[in-house]
Amino acid sequence: MKVEGTYTLPAPRDKVWALLNDPGVLARATPGVKKLEPQGDDMFKATIELGIGPVKGAYDGKVSITDKVPPERMTLRVEGGGKPGTIRATGELRLEESEGKTVVNYTGDAQITGLIASVGHRLIGGVAKQMASEFFKALERELQKR
Amino acid sequence: MGNRVKITINGSVHEAEVEPRLLLVHFLREVVGLTGTHIGCDTTNCGACTVLLDGRAVKSCTMFAVQADGRTVMTVEGLAQNGQLHPIQEGFHQKHGLQCGFCTPGMMITAFALLQRVPNPTEEQIRWGISGNLCRCTGYVNIVAAIKDAADKMRGTPAPAGERS
């Protein structure tokens, strides 16, 4: 399952880059993340509680940031599992500056298994898009705080 | 943490203490012992578990017994009266409306509800009416014929399809 999209953040690229490298920000901005504990360089242990309407699940996972080319691009990897199923996802973020704003192009690929995959297949694409948009909206709020 | 329920099933009142999460189909089969109602897909698709709830055909795998408290249920066991097969049962028998028989109880209950509402259905109305009940053996042709046969018997006279419907 693939997702892609674009989001424009009202700040220069350096500032957005700094934000994306701040574990506190990542923890607050990523939907469902309750806790993000550093496990070495750009590696985190994540506790996720995600509720989409009545469908609620708790997941334990790992988040890592790789292939960093500051301040242009990075790859986010998420692996996790819980009762409803498992997920392995990679997302590539590319940052472009234009007129003082940053355009983030993202492409993601996810493998999902378990009940969520068999029952929720039709919903995953939409939910992934929705979560990406929540993530960027949260980043925008973080920008305003600074 | 039981809830007390009182449900009228095929004319007799059944009272029991049940957990709220007990599905109606499990109540019928395991508490009351009426195993004519089948569990097929268990995911609200196949209609094998169809029963009448206050006269409407519903999937008993997708409701809790507590929701039926104080209400009236009819299962396939309620079709025959005094040892006499119901015309719908006769129709399925005579027109070969079943092969493996697993879908048959749900199919007959749905047919019963349909014929209460539409006594002289067209083939299209029958097919539309049973579209929530899956049969993997017959290809439906003989099921439709069985229901048509029952409709004619229940009205007393064979009549061209479409009238009074």
Binding site: R122 | T44, T110
Partner: protein
């Protein structure tokens, strides 16, 4: 499959039900027909600790016209709408939608309010009622408030309802002489969710132009969608073939489908175009006095 344990309440009045929701908040779920919630509970994807069953509250099942609106009680079953004379004679958009929801057995239990509150992007009522320009009434501790359906769907399975609010009524502008509508659904088989579905509601002026128009899209986005730009293409114009074709193409660009087992996104987007054009033609014919 057996759901997790929960405590069951069947209040007799709306205030009692609201009080229970206030007490249990996010741990409680409202049970109407149960045909979305119970399957999720059986899979244990949903495990509410408290269920508040509305079915014993009187006065939530009705279909009537008053003060310029068609009012439908939230507990009205899909099957009641399918067979209602008021709906059949004046609301073809709703009549079309009601008969293609799931299958007849599900329609005997599932309710219109429950379907909206569940906010599944594949729910047929979402798209149909967006096209009809509907609003809902939410009843909570401070009484009722009206929410336009445009503002109701916040995300997949997520609505503007507060945890202590219950959807109690759906309102739709009353049908007029020159109004028409249609709902077309492409499905793999009876009872399935839509590959794509499109609802259209419109009102023609005396000159035959589109005075009001609503277009709703089903299962081609994270929520039920309203094709506002496509509506804009039609507004004030005569719905001739060229205008309909342009509106249909616009609706397709406004849809946001994902690849899944029902087909790739491009295919679904094109089906939105085809269904929008067909539904518009059908609705225009009905507004002009066809069946």
């Amino acid at each position: 499959m057996i759901p997790g344990s929960f405590e069951y309440f069947s209040p007799q009045t709306l205030p009692e039900a609201v009080t229970l929701l206030q007490r249990y908040g996010e741990d409680a779920k409202v049970l109407a027909g149960g045909h979305s919630l119970i399957p999720l509970m059986k899979l244990r994807l949903a495990a509410p600790r408290y269920l508040v069953d509305l079915s014993r509250i009187d006065g939530l099942t009705y279909i009537r016209e008053s003060e310029g609106f068609l009012r439908v009680g939230a507990l009205t079953r899909h099957g009641d709408i399918e067979t209602s004379d008021v709906i059949r004679s004046g609301y073809p958009l709703l009549a079309d939608a009601a008969r293609v929801i799931a299958d007849p057995l599900v329609r005997n239990m599932g309710t219109v309010g429950g379907s909206l509150a569940h906010a599944d992007p594949a729910g047929d009522w979402g798209a149909a009622l967006l096209a009809a320009g509907a609003h809902v009434v939410a009843t909570g501790p401070r009484g009722g408030r009206t929410i336009p359906l445009d503002e109701f769907f916040v995300g997949t399975f997520t609505t503007a309802l507060q945890p202590d609010e219950i959807l109690t009524e759906i309102g739709i502008p009353q049908s007029q002489k020159n109004s028409g509508g249609a709902y077309l659904k492409l499905e793999r088989k009876v009872g399935d969710f839509a590959i794509a579905a499109v609802g259209v509601g419109l009102l023609l002026s005396s000159t035959g132009a589109c005075e009001q128009v609503g277009i709703g899209l089903c299962n081609v986005g994270p929520t039920s969608l309203r094709a506002g730009q496509a509506e804009q293409v039609l507004r004030g114009k005569k719905p001739d073939d060229a205008t309909i074709a342009r509106a249909a193409e616009t609706a397709a660009t406004e849809s946001d489908p994902a690849d899944d087992l029902r087909g790739p996104a491009d295919y679904k987007r094109d089906m939105v175009r085809v269904l929008t054009a067909r539904a518009l033609r059908l609705a225009v014919g009905r507004a002009k006095g066809g069946a």
